[in-house]
Amino acid sequence: MMRDQKLWTWHVVAGLVVLVFLGLHMTIMHLDEVIPAASLNPQGGHPIDWANVAARGKTLFFPITYVVLLGAALFHGLYGFRNILFELNPPGALKRVLGWLLALAGLGLFAIGTWAAIAAHRVALLA
């Protein structure tokens, strides 16, 4: 299988992972009145109130799924963006530079987001 075929397969798989976890995230954040679930916003009030953020952060489920969603969404989004850019037929050298830049940006954001998920878990446990 060629490299881009493999990456495309991962793009589709990552899309399905994003579908599940972003679906959950959107349900918690933006369908909280239509689908109220006490386990998702245990302190009541708005989903982004610190009490709810901390309560979700205390669990293992949310920090782990945040990191999974982060990785899958970054790969899905940045690989999709790379495909769009490559359709403009940049020269081979520019393609390589773009590929590396997007990969580095993705890794950097993954590092920041993962740190945030772990650190927020610790902050929530101490609170």
């Binding site: 579908l19 009145e33 952060g57």
Partner: protein, 145 residues
């Protein structure tokens, strides 16, 4: 024969936006790209903003307080709408890629029949579910909240 001048994407950016007579699915493709780029831009900023929760309650409340203006709420609503469309259209694309709902291969005998018409019910179903999600989101954003 069209001259490609060595560029397979002959029309460039124009080729993304205008689908000519390729039918509704071609415009779903354009919308998929637009919503995908919008979601990506939002997501990159979202990672940086929500990382403030790692620094505790004050940092979190300060960060969230900076984005309470109605324009941000409307922006978030657009993100939700983009998500609903991109997710449902994405499911349709995966199903089509797996050969679901595209009909059986037929001999290319005149008068030719496009498989796009066979796929149309799938696109309509995806559109209906996306619309239901958007209606629920609209209720949550502007009426129940």
């Amino acid at each position: 024969m069209l001259k490609t001048r060595g560029f397979p994407n002959r029309l460039g950016i124009q080729g993304w936006a205008f689908g000519g007579r390729w039918g509704p699915e071609r415009y779903l493709y354009t919308l998929h790209r637009i919503t995908g780029l919008g979601l990506l831009l939002y997501f990159l900023l979202h990672i940086l903003l929500t990382s403030s929760r790692a620094l505790g309650m004050e940092a979190w409340e300060q960060a969230m307080g900076a984005v309470t203006a109605p324009i941000f709420t409307f922006g978030e609503y657009l993100v939700f709408v983009a998500f609903a469309f991109h997710a449902l259209n994405g499911i349709r694309l995966v199903l089509v890629e797996l050969g679901v709902g595209v009909g059986k291969p037929i001999e290319p005998v005149y008068p030719y029949r496009t498989s796009l018409n066979v796929q149309r019910p799938l696109a309509i179903c995806a559109g209906i579910v996306a619309l239901v999600l958007i209606v629920l989101g609209t209720l949550d954003f502007f009426i129940l909240d």
